[in-house]
């Protein structure tokens, strides 16, 4: 890969589009350029993230004191709050987030390609996503109240409650198709669009993680599609498959739901691990330790992750034999995950680490994700799970993985790639302060949940006994600090769009291909043919060492 001089005058993808007119609203909405689609996803997702965060803050506020706290929130509205918080966060932000935003923008760049394999299909996926998003928002204002089933849409409640639950289920169905088509596009792109000389083991680890993710998207998501359709059929046609009165079995719904939704957890977390691997190599200025192990562990997580869904159902009375097998397989997932953690730590050993904001997020990811992963083990063990099932311990575990892991990796990636995407630098000092607020706020918010769970506080309850009050209050204080950190970060990003310093092409001395083009890149990504002759993280000084 030659670092030959970059042509001085080039138009960026902001100035040249795929439509007739290069600028204006239409040039964005009809663009098949993967970079513009990525930015559109980012814009939409930040909006939905803000809504879901606000709902989360309201939940925490209601739980500040024992007994009713907020005047306008009753039990019914509280149920809607946690349902919408879950539906919007999961289906509109965390699941599609990393693949749709960074995957779209950086997959072709990291492969040295001009675009994804099916650019028009890519735009179609975006519109499916927006359709699903609109349906989810419509469900909030449906007659009969907002959806209140929880994000899992468990039967029999989901076919008995108000029509809003059906609308939210339909939203998840449509979003599923968007996810499938994105996955299909990425698998094909990775197989067909790699630059000359880029074998599979010369791909950056973010691309590897997207490959594993895309396979799960293709192979798991259809199951949720058919499941949600059956809930609709149950409601309108009384086919009986999930209705015990007609001979059906509600537990089968849970099986089908988690057959998708547990692999979906890996759709969320694998790309986060990929971003972290890339950032770690860049800010340690050295090749990543155990490249092949990290790449292949993504694949093995994808495979084993398929076979563990039963651990969500240990208390439903599934057979002891199957429970034991599911428990064992769940422990197996920890092995490739542990391999990654050890490799990341080994990469940092004796490296010259540069503590820029993205690296801080990377370190926080490793710390918080380890806590999230290790607290998963007591939930995978049959005996302890009986005690911990459906308590705040599960909430703590889940948020340490989903927020402390995935969303922190998302923010880290946003800081890391911001210069490439927008051609401006963010403010480093504000970035660090924002990070510290988020880190402290996050841990204060979610760590007490482990203690609450161990003491027996059940999840999804509107009210609690006074003895839980101090820990709940602590958690709510944490949510305020976290919110302050998020606001500072948002301000930093928005302000830097116009006022940030102009970004150099390769501000972090990264070695993957996206740093080999201008910031922001031109429409066709590179102005020369890319020929790859070395590994993704080979630093020049290491070759001579």
């Amino acid at each position: 890969m030659a670092y030959a001089g970059v042509a001085p005058e080039r138009t960026t993808f902001y100035e040249q589009g795929t439509t007739d007119k290069p600028t204006g609203l239409k040039s964005w909405l009809l663009s098949t350029d993967h970079k513009r689609i990525g930015i559109m996803y980012l814009t939409a997702m930040m909006f939905f993230f803000a809504i879901a965060v606000s709902l989360g803050l309201l939940i925490r506020l209601e739980l500040l004191t024992s007994g009713p706290t907020l005047p306008f929130v009753n039990q019914r509205i509280y149920n809607s709050f946690f349902t919408l918080h879950g539906v919007i966060m999961i289906f509109l932000f965390v699941v599609p987030g990393l693949p749709s935003v960074f995957g779209n923008f950086f997959l072709p760049l990291q492969l040295g390609a001009e675009d994804v394999s099916f650019p028009r299909l890519n735009l179609f996926s975006f519109y499916l996503y927006m359709t699903g998003a609109v349906l989810a928002l419509v469900s909030i204002v449906m007659p009969g109240g907002s959806p209140d089933t929880g994000w899992t849409f468990y039967v029999p409640y989901s076919y008995e409650t108000g029509p809003a639950a059906i609308m939210a289920g339909l939203a998840a169905f449509v979003l599923g198709f968007s996810s499938i088509l994105t996955g299909l596009n990425f698998v094909t792109t990775i197989h067909r669009m790699r630059a000359k000389g880029m074998g599979f083991f010369k791909m950056p680890l973010f691309t590897w993680s997207l490959y594993a993710t895309a396979w799960i998207q293709v192979l798991a998501t259809p199951v949720i599609g058919i499941t949600l359709m059956l809930v609709l059929a149950e409601r309108f046609l009384q086919v009986g498959v999930f209705n015990p009165a007609l001979g059906g079995d509600p537990v089968l719904y849970q099986h089908l739901f988690w057959m998708y939704s547990h692999p979906a957890v890996y759709v969320m977390v694998l790309p986060a691990m990929g971003v972290v691997s890339d950032m770690l190599a860049t800010f340690c200025h050295r090749t990543i330790f155990g490249y092949k192990a990290i790449a292949l562990s993504s694949m093995s997580i994808a495979v084993v992750g398929y076979l563990v869904w039963g651990h969500h159902m240990f208390t439903t009375g599934i057979s002891p034999t199957s429970a034991k097998i599911f428990s064992l397989l769940t422990f197996f997932v920890a092995v490739p995950t542990g391999m990654k953690i050890f490799n990341w730590v080994a990469t940092m050993y004796k490296a010259s680490i540069e503590l820029k904001t993205p690296m801080l997020y990377t370190l926080a990811f490793i710390f918080q994700f380890s806590i999230g992963g290790l607290t998963g083990l007591p939930l995978a063990a049959l005996s302890t799970d009986i005690q911990l099932h459906d308590t705040y311990f599960v909430l703590g575990h889940f948020h340490y993985v989903a927020f402390g892991g995935i969303v922190f990796a998302f923010f880290g990636g946003l800081y890391y790639w911001y210069p490439k995407m927008f051609g401006r630098m963010y403010d480093e000092r504000q970035g660090v302060i924002g990070f510290l607020l988020q880190f402290i706020g996050f841990n204060l918010l979610y760590f007490p949940m482990f203690m609450l769970g161990l003491k027996g506080m059940p999840r999804r309850y509107y009210d609690y006994l006074p003895e839980y009050e101090s820990l709940h209050a602590l958690s709510t204080y944490g949510s305020w600090i976290l919110a302050a950190g998020l606001l500072l970060m948002a301000w930093n990003f928005l302000r830097s769009l116009g006022k940030g310093e102009e970004a150099p092409d390769n501000p972090w001395e990264g070695t993957t291909l996206e740093w080999d083009t201008t910031s922001p890149p031109p429409l066709l990504n590179f102005d020369k043919e890319i020929v790859v002759t070395r590994g993704p993280y080979d630093y020049p000084e290491e070759e001579t060492r």
């Binding site: 058919i226 046609l237 498959v241 089968l252």
Partner: protein, 207 residues
């Protein structure tokens, strides 16, 4: 929904890529039906006798007749693709036409089958079902309508795709040198056929 994309801003035709995309899409279709097959397997093991009894009420002759129709349509689809490969556009269109006719015939049969059943009150949620059929049979018919219904929907989508293909051939967008769209619709049609091959024994021949 066929995955025929090419980069809009560069002349980039990737035949292999288009077919990979289509195969991945077919995987998702298999899994979509997979959820229903799981339900069928679970309930059949619980209500074996009722499934056996209910399956007896389905018309085996119509089921087998429809199977023959679909298999024939798969043959004409293959003929259409191979005629295009050999450069015989005229025969390709003819074979595509007969595939379309077979698909239509399948749906007409299905219409008579369903309307006969519904006329006799055999459909999910009817009074007849609640009064004279026990739980296992209700589930059998529920799954019967869901699975053959979803399959029928796929037949309709296939017919729409054939319409598009016909239009594309007439416009000269599909040529003997560039016929991946036709081939992908062919792949899709074979999957529709294949799923029916599984539905026939599970519902009609289970008696």
């Amino acid at each position: 929904m066929s995955a025929h994309g090419e980069a809009a801003h560069a002349v980039h035709k990737d035949y292999e890529g288009a077919k990979i995309g289509m195969w991945l899409f077919l995987f998702t279709e298999v899994l979509l039906f997979g959820g229903l097959f799981v339900l069928y397997a679970a309930y059949r093991s619980v209500y074996a006798a009722e499934f056996h009894h209910a399956a007896g009420s389905l018309n085996v002759f119509l089921g087998v007749f429809n199977t023959v129709i679909l298999l024939t349509s798969s043959l004409t689809m293959v003929l259409s693709v191979s005629a295009m490969q050999k450069g015989d556009v005229r025969s390709s269109i003819n074979a595509l036409f007969w595939t379309f006719v077979c698909a239509l015939g399948f749906l007409v049969n299905k219409y008579f089958e369903w309307s006969y059943k519904i006329h006799h009150g055999i459909y999910p949620g009817s009074e007849e079902m609640a009064a004279h059929h026990d739980k296992g049979e209700v589930l059998f018919y529920g799954l019967y309508y869901m699975m053959t219904g979803l399959h029928g929907f796929h037949v309709i989508v296939g017919m729409i795709c054939m319409g598009f293909i016909y239009y594309h051939i007439r416009k000269g967008w599909i040529t003997p040198d560039d016929y991946v769209k036709l081939e992908n619709v062919g792949l899709y049609w074979h999957l529709v056929d294949l799923i029916w091959i599984f539905l026939l024994p599970l519902f009609y021949l289970a008696a």
